[in-house]
Amino acid sequence: MPRTIIDKIWERHLVASPGAAPALLYIDLHLVHEVTSPQAFEGLRRRGLRVRRPERTFAVADHAIPTTPLADPIADPVAARQVSQLEANCREFGIPCYGRGHERQGIVHVAGPELGLTRPGTTIVCGDSHTATHGAFGALAFGIGTSEVEMVLATQCLLQRRPRTCRIRVDGALAPGVSAKDLVLAIIAKLGVNGGTGFVFEYAGAAVRSLSMEGRMTLCNMSIEAGARAGLVAPDDTTFAWLHGRPFAPSGAAWDAALRRWRELASDPDAAFDREASLSADGLAPMITFGTNPAMAVAIDGSVPDPGGVSDEGDRQALRRALEYMAIEAGKPLLGQRLDVVFVGSCTNGRLEDLREAARLLRGRRVHPGVRMLVVPGSRAVRAAAEAEGLNRVFLDAGAEWREPGCSMCIAMNGDELKPGQRAISTSNRNFEGRQGPGSRTMLASPATAAACAVAGVVADPRRFA
């Protein structure tokens, strides 16, 4: 029977699938960070358990660490305690830990792939909903809660119900200045914030095939914003070329053997999905959000929707409330909307390609005097590579801040936050009320759009900054 890539990975990882109980699924790679793990380690201690496979477990500090110079201590004592507890837990349980300042440190979903830990056909979990990022390599990767973190630490397995499958086919080609971020915002706007609940997505089609690995990571990263725990792209030569030679990637004969297996992963031609969706990349404009969930997005040259035109009562109220929260008027164009801060970074758009794209627009230009712009690389490796190309000079010369790697203003728990009422153009993944600090207002967009907005001092179309 023809199978999807999701079926193939699922079936390959079944330890047991008893009738009525959930399947016992083997987990190849467990990524850990400081925020969602302390209570799990405490649980192990209480039970007197060890980490079953510490060599399949890797930890980084990313959410709570400051992005100020490394010489400065962590000013927030609560954050400092959480980070030092991660390091102590990893020492106690024998897990590699890449803490603040370590050359392999980075946002967990940036560091994992660049170290070659993320591999096609594997199961990957992390106590973080953006774990879907790793699906870009053809892995089944999803976020879990702390109880499940404890479960995986203790058993290397999870109890899971088989997910339903949904193929999202994107044909056509993205225009210059339009990126994977714009594509995923368009997909979420089409499906809605719960359109993918209960599903794993496979992204397919010519426009997906032609994305770089960085673009595929951006795409898979935001699967959860449509409600899907995981999204993936079948691996191909782009994937293999990106992985080859990474520190933890197989080498020599093991690489050749792995390649043979990886080439078998793609969905069989006649495989049936539980659901199919499609859209065209042709004519897609840069996208921007205007509201308080990631599905509230429109083309940047469009206008703010009018709640009066929404038929569902709940949706109409939500839209009205969102516009009020964002202090944005129905019917007005997005272009020209005021802003205070521009944030380039996060596990969605904090990779080298993203920084190059932002720098391309900033080169020879200045950040508008009324705007604060933060550029936060996704990892130390990204930071070093960007500096080797001189991107840091472009950002600094333009008047932007060039900071140390971390989750930073995406989740705003490390001191990098907006002031109440401020509005940001952010390359991150969530625009929920208060996401970037109490009273913060977030508009999600691509790195190119963010840079264009920084220069213009208002919402601007990156296609006009060629």
Binding site: A20, G43, S129, S147, E148, T197, G314
Partner: protein
């Protein structure tokens, strides 16, 4: 009356069973209530499960949760797609710590539902129009008494009742007080056999 034994103010069920949750209900009549609303990220720097109830819906306070009708509230009624967003288990911990034992909604986000079940917080997804009916009732009568009977899979209000579906395995674990990690640890032999079957390059 059998109260849910949701670990006295702590969050996680220690070994207690959950059979029934009953008591006053309050409503937050919105769809897509995300985990950043339930417990904002700035409160996630804690290394324990306790004390998060004080920060529940911090960005929306003061609200219905601060009114007399919410005193002793056991059940929260909300719109559709409750708990979307992040995987933070701090969301169910905060709800439990505040005193809630169940959330009634039109639907739930996947990770939130998993996290809730693992902590003995009952996610009760009602079909329409019953969901809209219970939501309207709780909005108009804050503190109205509701009962979630897990054994019969039935939500009752003073003038009616509606069956709900829930994962049968999770239900059984809650009713019997089964520890899921213990359950998986007992399958060690199957896990070892699985690992032994893998090619050396993948171990």
């Amino acid at each position: 009356m059998t109260r849910a034994q949701a670990s006295g103010g702590g969050g996680r069920r220690a070994s207690g069973r959950v059979v029934r949750v009953e008591g006053p209900a309050v409503a937050l009549p919105r769809d897509n209530i995300d985990t950043d609303q339930i417990i904002p990220a700035r409160f996630l720097k804690t290394t324990t499960r306790e004390g998060l109830g004080a920060h529940l819906f911090a960005g929306w306070r003061p609200c219905i949760l601060d009114e007399p009708a919410a005193r002793g509230a056991r059940i929260l009624v909300a719109g559709r797609n409750f708990g979307c967003g992040s995987s933070r288990e701090h969301a169910p911990w905060a709800l439990l710590d505040f005193g809630f034992g169940a959330v009634v909604a039109g639907s739930f986000a996947d990770i939130f539902r998993q996290n809730a079940l693992k902590n003995g917080l009952l996610p009760v997804a009602l079909p329409e129009p019953e969901h809209a009916q219970v939501l309207a009732l709780t909005v108009s009568q804050p503190g109205v008494g509701l009962e979630v009977d897990l054994e019969r899979q039935l939500l009752s209000w003073p003038s009616g009742a509606c069956p709900f579906s829930i994962d049968p395995f999770a239900r059984e674990c809650l009713l019997q007080g089964v520890d899921e990690i213990g359950y998986v640890l007992r399958q060690e032999k199957a896990i070892e056999e699985y690992e032994a079957r893998q090619p050396a390059s993948e171990r």
